[in-house]
């Protein structure tokens, strides 16, 4: 009912606008085209300056409203460098923005049509053109310089003592693997993946290196310790997005990628910093990956070294979960998957195995 009502109101609005518009055309014919033109020109010229002033106030107001909502201080060293770069760019582009917008609308207002004025014939001026080729070029050189300085720092090799974690994206969730005590990830092969048998990464159990690998669904990081993420995907392209750390890297099937950073604040510290007792770092998927893309969330816990050791000790390696017959691990199933497809596919894999 309300929809019909809204459509009726819209139609009415249309009709009224149309009638007024038609009438204004007749009026301008009666008034004489010249007078009508001059009047319209004045109104639009005035609106130009109004738009400029209201627009500038709007820019300020919008900034006041939302500057507190953009996640606050970056929670990693790289993130802080990125924020610094952001402010440098903001300063330079901000100056250009205000100068050019003010000139544009001010000129439009000031040089609106007048009987008295004659347009100034000014086809070119090499000096001026040189100035506004060289100045932007210098400004951009500065930006490129700073940008690449930080870029190479951020994308450079991870420190030797960096903790390694393997991140794997799948439709629609994240799997994290820690190498265990030996510090080496066991070999894996995607054809071995079997969610029903609790081998979500296709780990090759014959490789002894794999026996102590931890496979978990929450990412635990240690404060002030560099971490190197080795990023994989099981199916389509995903993207590891860590907004608070200002980091991001695609997860590409068949082509592992890496990124490293150093978390600066534990989750507990962030709870205090943000005054939000429910605060959690989140890992989001930032590359369109299908119907569940927007639900592809994982929690990242940044903890102290002691807490990390404690947490790690409590985890049972994936290998032990699978082969501990006394305590069979519950089958992990994908939340987006229906039970029927699981059994069907189990049968299918059995058939394949028989062949």
């Amino acid at each position: 009912m309300s929809t019909v009502f809204i459509i009726l109101i819209l139609l009415l609005g249309f009709l009224i606008t149309f009638q007024i518009a038609k009438a204004s055309e007749y009026v301008s014919v009666l008034k004489g085209e010249k007078r009508a033109f001059e009047q319209q020109n004045k109104i639009n010229g005035f609106l130009m300056i109004v738009f400029l002033i209201v627009g500038l106030i709007g820019v300020y107001w919008c900034n006041e409203l939302y500057k507190g909502k953009i996640l606050g201080e970056a929670a990693s060293q790289h993130g802080q460098q990125i924020d610094k770069m952001l402010y440098i760019t903001l300063a330079i582009t901000g100056v250009v923005f205000f100068i050019t917008q003010i000139l544009l609308f001010w000129f439009a207002y000031k040089y609106q049509h007048s009987e008295k004025r004659k347009a100034y014939y000014f086809p070119h001026d090499n000096r001026l053109e040189l100035i506004w080729t060289v100045i932007p070029a210098i400004a951009l050189t500065v930006l490129v310089g700073f940008g690449l300085f930080y870029w190479f720092k951020i994308t450079g090799d991870a420190p030797k003592d960096a903790m390694q974690v393997e991140v794997t994206g799948k439709q629609f969730g994240w799997i994290f693997r820690y190498p265990g005590k030996d510090g080496v990830f066991g070999k894996k092969f995607y054809q071995n993946i079997d969610d029903g048998k609790n081998n979500s990464l296709g780990i090759i159990w014959d490789d002894p290196m794999s026996h102590d690998d931890l496979v978990v669904t929450e990412l635990y990081l240690v404060k002030d310790q560099p971490v190197k993420l080795i990023i994989n995907s099981r199916d389509v392209i995903h993207d590891v997005g860590l907004a608070h750390f200002r980091m991001k890297m695609d997860a590409v099937p068949g082509t592992p990628t890496t990124m490293w950073f150093t978390p600066l604040f534990t989750t507990e510290e962030m709870k205090k910093k943000t005054n939000n007792p429910n605060f959690e770092y989140e890992l989001s998927c930032d590359q369109m990956c299908g119907r569940g893309h927007f639900t592809m969330r994982a929690i990242v816990k940044v903890v102290t070294p002691e807490e990390f050791i404690l947490w790690k000790a409590k985890q049972k390696p994936n290998y032990a979960q699978v082969f501990d017959s006394a305590n069979p691990a519950p089958a992990k199933t994908d939340s987006t998957m229906k039970a029927t497809t699981v059994t069907e596919s189990k049968n299918a894999t059995k058939l394949v195995a028989k062949q």
Partner: protein, 607 residues
């Protein structure tokens, strides 16, 4: 129409009676309805076909955005009437995720390719090239006709894909594989993706036929005296646009053909190490590179944004000079910067791929080349500013949109400096910052260029004016609305809020913008309604608009205004006019304007 009357000089006033009826007399052959309106080879009719098809697509594409904005603004509400219209796509009155992604994908595809490429270039290249360079028609009117009909076929295929059971393509307008290659991974990658590829292939054919025609027409068919440096900037812009299209669209097609092979022929160009969760099966494909597709796609994809924006720049330059009653400032610099942008357009594609695992050194090269584009862009902006400086500005609707274009181009262009810098792109990539950036700089501002062109040349197209008041309302609401929609999105992007989510309420980091999303959605709907006002104004004015009685209503220098008010096929009834000067002698030697056809007099000052 008595075309003889118009032979006696360009400023002659023709009575409205003469201006109306019958463009037939100039023709040597009889035209039927089919040859005149359907399979027409007249560039002016093909232009009208392009713009009307483009408008249909723009309304559909806009409507899609209204639907998904409804979801984004009100994620927790249900709209039962949606289910009445859309059936299973809006089960229980809620837009389903598959449908949401289909909407965003098709919104992008339709607006980028079918409206802002086909609709914009197709319309104005067809209309202005022959009329402004002084040619009777395109180099090959027949290929030109085919160009439209391939566009039409492409449109039909894409339109059909909206109605198939598994829905249209839904992997984003960039159709990255593996998502777009695997029907089991994504509903829209079933038949919908095949339709998409076929539709785009037809579109590429259309674009090539058109582009080759535009290039050969501009190079070969200029009238006597029309040297390249006397061309209006519209023609230069359309020329570079056509070159970009001809060189880059085939690369997209090759990428899509490989994708088709991966989908149906069992090849592994883009596929490797894939395990599908929905079927619990590992695929046999190994050794492919999903990133290869992104290189092929963006090799078109980036020039594509210049294919969209260059014609708008050309239209704006011309309209700005005419309505400031001043020559465009720095004509050669304007041409040079168009050229520089066209060259750089091919050297920056990988800035879309900074976070794909691209070699950081390679990334740094692309940072440098990308930020270089800001230099010619800055030159253009400053030249536009100087063009209106000390002018005598008439705020016709076209001029308003030209000014709006410059404002939006500045706002959107500057945020490009953020995203082109790989360091910042790490954080901002695929967030709302990107949405804000490209919607302002290539979406809305290209639309402003298009509106600017439509309002300016409508009198030439149809011999009537559009209604001014409706045009003013259209302009102000659209300009204010565009800023209200996209400006706050930058803040969402700075917070890292990812694109292509249909509901943020499950996220602690991104759910603080619920009110803002609702506000943006409301404004988007108002702005969409006002575009309908424009469409109404357009069609109403074709039939009922105020008639044009003066041959050169804007007092412009270019050749199209020397043709009759309603030119027939062949454009000029007698000889094609000869050109003696550049297109921008406005306000020279105390004269308001000097048309290109006027010989240079002995006592004229040099510029």
């Amino acid at each position: 129409m008595s075309n003889e009357a118009t032979l006696h000089g360009h400023s002659e006033v023709i009575t409205s009676h003469d201006a109306h009826h019958g463009e037939h007399e100039v023709h040597h052959h009889k035209e039927t309805f089919i040859t005149k309106y359907v399979f027409s080879q007249d560039h002016k009719m093909i232009c009208k076909q392009f713009i009307i098809t483009g408008m249909v697509w723009a309304i559909l594409g806009g409507l899609m955005s209204v639907l998904f904005r409804l979801q984004l603004g009100y994620p927790d509400q249900t709209f039962p009437w949606l289910e009445d219209i859309l059936g299973k796509w809006a089960k229980g009155g809620k837009i389903q995720p598959e449908f949401y992604y289909a909407l965003t994908t098709m919104h992008g595809t339709v607006l980028v390719f079918f409206v802002l490429t086909g609709g914009l270039s197709g319309t104005f290249a067809n209309f202005l090239i022959p009329l402004q360079i002084g040619a009777r028609d395109m180099a090959s009117p027949f290929l030109n006709m085919l160009s439209y009909w391939f566009f039409f076929l492409a449109s039909v295929v894409i339109l059909c894909s909206l109605f198939i059971q598994t829905g249209p393509a839904s992997g984003g307008w960039t159709v990255y594989p593996p998502l777009s290659a695997l029907g089991d991974a994504n509903e829209g990658s079933k038949a919908g993706m095949d339709y998409w590829i076929i539709g785009m292939a037809l579109f590429v054919v259309s674009s090539l036929l058109g582009g080759l025609n535009y290039i050969s027409t501009i190079l070969n068919m200029r009238t006597k005296g029309m040297s390249m440096t006397r061309l209006p900037l519209t023609i230069w812009a359309l020329f570079f646009t056509a070159v970009l299209g001809v060189l880059s669209f085939p690369v997209l097609l090759s990428g899509l053909i490989l994708l088709l092979f991966d989908r149906h022929a069992g090849t592994s160009f883009y596929l490797s190490d894939i395990f599908i969760a929905s079927t619990q099966k590992a695929l046999p494909n190994e050794g492919g590179s999903a990133i290869l597709f992104q290189h092929l796609f963006w090799f078109l994809g980036h020039p594509e944004v210049y294919i969209i924006i260059l014609p708008a720049m050309g239209l704006v330059s011309e309209v700005m000079a005419v309505n400031s009653r001043k020559p465009i400032f720095g004509y050669m610099a304007m041409v040079g910067s168009l050229f520089a942008i066209a060259i750089l357009a091919f050297l920056v594609w990988a800035h879309h791929m900074f976070v794909t695992g691209l070699n950081p050194f390679l990334g740094s090269v692309f940072v440098l080349l990308t930020l270089l584009i800001a230099v010619p862009s800055a030159i253009k902006v400053f030249n536009w500013l100087t063009t209106i400086w000390r002018g005598n500005i008439r705020f016709t609707p076209a001029m308003l949109f030209a000014i709006g274009f410059v404002s939006l181009f500045i706002s959107g262009g500057l945020t490009g400096i953020f995203l082109g810098n790989s360091t910042l792109d790490i954080h901002l990539h695929d967030t709302y910052f990107v949405i804000a950036h490209f919607h302002i700089v290539m979406g809305v501002s290209a639309f402003f260029g298009m509106f600017c062109g439509v309002y300016h040349w409508f009198p030439k197209m149809y011999g009537r004016y559009m209604n001014n008041l409706m045009a003013y309302i259209h302009f102000w609401v659209t300009l204010i609305g565009a800023y209200l929609i996209f400006w706050p999105m930058h803040y969402e992007g700075l917070a890292g809020m990812p694109r292509r989510y249909l509901d943020y309420s499950g996220w602690l980091s991104f759910n603080q913008f619920g009110d803002l999303n609702r506000f943006i959605s409301t404004v988007a709907m108002v702005v969409f309604a006002v575009q309908l006002l424009f469409v109404f104004n357009f069609f109403y004015s074709i039939f009922k608009g105020r008639k044009v009685i003066s041959q050169n209503p804007w007092g412009a220098n270019t050749l199209e205004w020397t043709a009759p008010i309603r030119p027939g096929h062949g454009n000029w009834p007698g000889e094609i006019p000869e050109v003696h000067r550049w297109a921008y002698d406005y306000g020279k030697d105390g004269r308001e304007f000097i048309p290109q056809t006027e010989p240079i007099s002995a006592d004229e000052s040099k510029h």
